[in-house]
Symmetry: C2
Subunit: 429 residues, 2 copies
């Protein structure tokens, strides 16, 4: 029987998924292991930066008032009473016409209130004593980085939900986070369904193809920052698929199946959802590819039924699964980020529904362009490998032309967006 399904809008589908959004648990990891993890608490400065008044240059620390009469014509002599490297602290008190040799980053010694750069003085040694000649007048505070001028103790510097990059890792180290509280990675179960599916290690057989979607989803899951548990491919058999899904649901935080969501006779997902007592959120979306993407909920857990078509499967993950996972890991910008750009070539075929075309972005003279990659034929997976974006062509009665402004969903972006992509009110043509 051909089942009738009512398509819903993309925005609506995303909203239905996000109605069930959850924040996951957190865990402590060593700072060495925190890369690309999502912070589960804000990063707070545990001390002032700089932590003490320090010198931004190599030079000599002295008292500004002693330089009042210094000039090119009347250089003044200062006795160098100590020499301190980075990490050292002088125990001397800088007095009248005295100076302490100081390295970049070192703490300003007591008594001193300014620093003169190394390049601006002449150094003189006389009878075992060292002196410098100062030829200019200095002001109190010259060449001093003051305690707390960059950041004050207790300041929140990075919000929870940010993903650790090299700059954030540097901050964690600076502020003593030898252990970092991060979002625990959700486990995504993956089951590829279809009696036609072989594994990569299998020889081809008549009528069969190797599963690629399951592996592609593995990679999409990892790129999001989650982990996966991949199950054996499942033949188109109601009982075994039901059992596999039941097991996976117990072992994973969410479950993705791929294949088996078309309208053919051999699609058991609707039946399985029913048998499980799962609530169907949607099973058809007004988009191409990916119109037969489905989602169901049971006990607060989501089951995503992605299409068996590779492009549709890919798009379904990016639009619907990724934001759910990112939110789980504390992100407040869980949605795929999108920008606008100019279409570089005609795309004459009209489509009643919004179309997501695998695209490649280029930049020329400060402008954003995008062009479709590959032939965009159903089943051609090569183009997914080259795509860095999805070109969104809103549904309508006409095709698109080079020069048209289009939305571009960024696939490699890690910044995310606080708002999901949605259909424009007026489609261009």
């Amino acid at each position: 029987m051909v089942e009738r399904r009512k398509p819903i809008w993309i925005k609506e589908a995303i909203e239905k998924v996000m109605e069930y959004k959850l924040r996951g648990e957190d865990e402590l990891v060593s700072i060495h292991e925190c890369d690309e993890r999502y912070l589960s608490e804000p990063l707070i400065a545990d001390h002032d930066v700089p932590p003490f008044n320090r010198s931004p240059y190599d030079g000599f620390a002295l008292r500004a008032r002693d330089t009042e009469n210094a000039s090119r014509e009347t250089p003044l002599l200062f006795e160098v009473i100590d020499e301190i490297g980075a990490g050292q602290v002088s125990l001397k008190q800088v007095g009248h016409q005295q100076a302490v040799r100081i390295m970049t980053g070192a703490q300003i010694p007591d008594g001193a209130d300014c620093v003169i750069m190394l390049e601006l003085v002449r150094e003189i040694s006389e009878a075992g004593n060292k002196y410098i000649e100062v030829k200019r007048r200095l002001q109190d505070g010259d060449n001093i980085s003051f305690q707390g001028e960059d950041t004050q103790k207790g300041s929140p510097l990075i919000d929870k939900g940010e993903r650790v990059n090299p700059g954030i890792k540097a901050l964690l180290a600076t502020f003593g986070y030898s252990q970092v509280k991060v979002a625990k990675k959700p486990t995504v179960g993956i089951i590829a369904t279809g009696s036609e599916l072989l594994r990569p290690e299998d020889e081809l057989e008549p009528g069969k193809i190797r599963d690629s979607n399951g592996y592609m989803i593995e990679s999409q899951v990892l790129r999001t920052g989650a982990v996966y548990k991949k199950y054996e491919n499942c033949a188109d058999d109601l009982e075994s698929l039901y059992e596999a899904m039941k097991t996976a649901l117990q072992e994973c935080d969410i479950l993705i199946t791929t294949g088996g969501v078309s309208v053919g006779d051999f699609d058991y997902l609707p039946e399985i959802y029913k048998r499980m007592g799962a609530k169907l959120l949607f099973n058809k979306i007004a988009m191409r590819p990916g119109s037969v993407t489905s989602c169901a909920e049971i006990n607060g857990r989501l089951l995503f039924g992605l299409s068996g078509n590779p492009s549709a499967c890919y798009v379904g993950f990016e639009l619907f699964v990724k934001p759910y996972l990112r939110y789980w890991m504390q992100s407040d910008r869980p949605y795929t980020r999108y920008i606008t750009g100019e279409l570089k070539m005609d795309f004459p075929k009209p489509n009643p529904f919004s179309r997501f075309v695998r695209g490649k972005i280029s930049y020329e003279d400060g402008k954003v362009y995008a062009e479709p990659v590959g032939l965009d034929k159903s089943g051609v997976v090569t183009s997914i490998a080259w795509a860095d974006s999805l070109i969104v062509l809103p549904g309508g009665t006409r095709g698109y032309r080079a020069g048209d402004e289009v939305d571009l969903i960024l696939l490699e972006d890690q910044q995310g967006s606080g708002v999901p992509w949605q259909e424009r009110k007026f489609s261009k043509s």
Copy 2:
């Protein structure tokens, strides 16, 4: 003594590094472990795609010539002689006015030469036999995806040196790469130097700060796809630094030190390079920050001396270390990718040398904009966390204004560039 150093241009420094570029070894990993690895051999199609003539839709396979007289007024009856799901092959031969029910992706049965979509026929059951009513004329080849029409067996699909993304992983699975030959990850030794350095787990002490550069470099190394070996921080002591570097050089493929490259009295790197017999490639570059970045070579191995200033250290890695590592891992686009965009705010301070300002890119109406993040003060690490780009302000006598076109080096980009960034011939102002 203040050592005199001759600055060289950025482009020249990159060239000097890349004179010593090497391709690393490769290794076999499971397809489950290949994400974000660099392919060390081209990905070749081991079979045609599609591997057989197949149906892109659910429908009925039949012979086009039998539909010659079919029309809305005179529908023709076809006997359904078999029913095949995906992965199955029909053993029947489709004859005159016969049809085989076929699922999306299934192989076209012998005898049939076209497919009619499920939605376009009426199904009739009569005395245990099934029939369909066909109301239109079909052409030979209608709704058939032909063997090899997407990709032919033996075609190279992805070059070596590409980094595995979800689309490439899907291709690897499709074409039977259960084991994938990838570039072995080079090991990058990291030694943070400076007597002022504490570890993240240490309490602050007067005059001291926690090492952040070493951790930042860890993260930059991982983002590039390499692995790191981090050594204990090293005090400003010639002997211990020499020994630490000698050990690290034996255990790692390249070595990065941070700190100790300024012109202060306590900088031992030049002395250590000499003692090791390393050839100095450069120790000063016409850029800010990072002017005291150094690089030396010994027995074909590179030693990078990055600045102790966090921003300078960061920039030094991105510009000089990253391309070396990417090339090592087989990439032919090892350089950091750059685009142009419009400066969003004034940057009035002129600089004789090219300046790399930590920036954030925004897109509006198809145009690229960038603005500096944070105060860009030396020592402020917060801005590195927020930067997604380096805004390049070429050296000159004037500052920059909002609206000026500038180069933007993309920090999170994984695509890379075949050519390194270089100073523009004419700087704007």
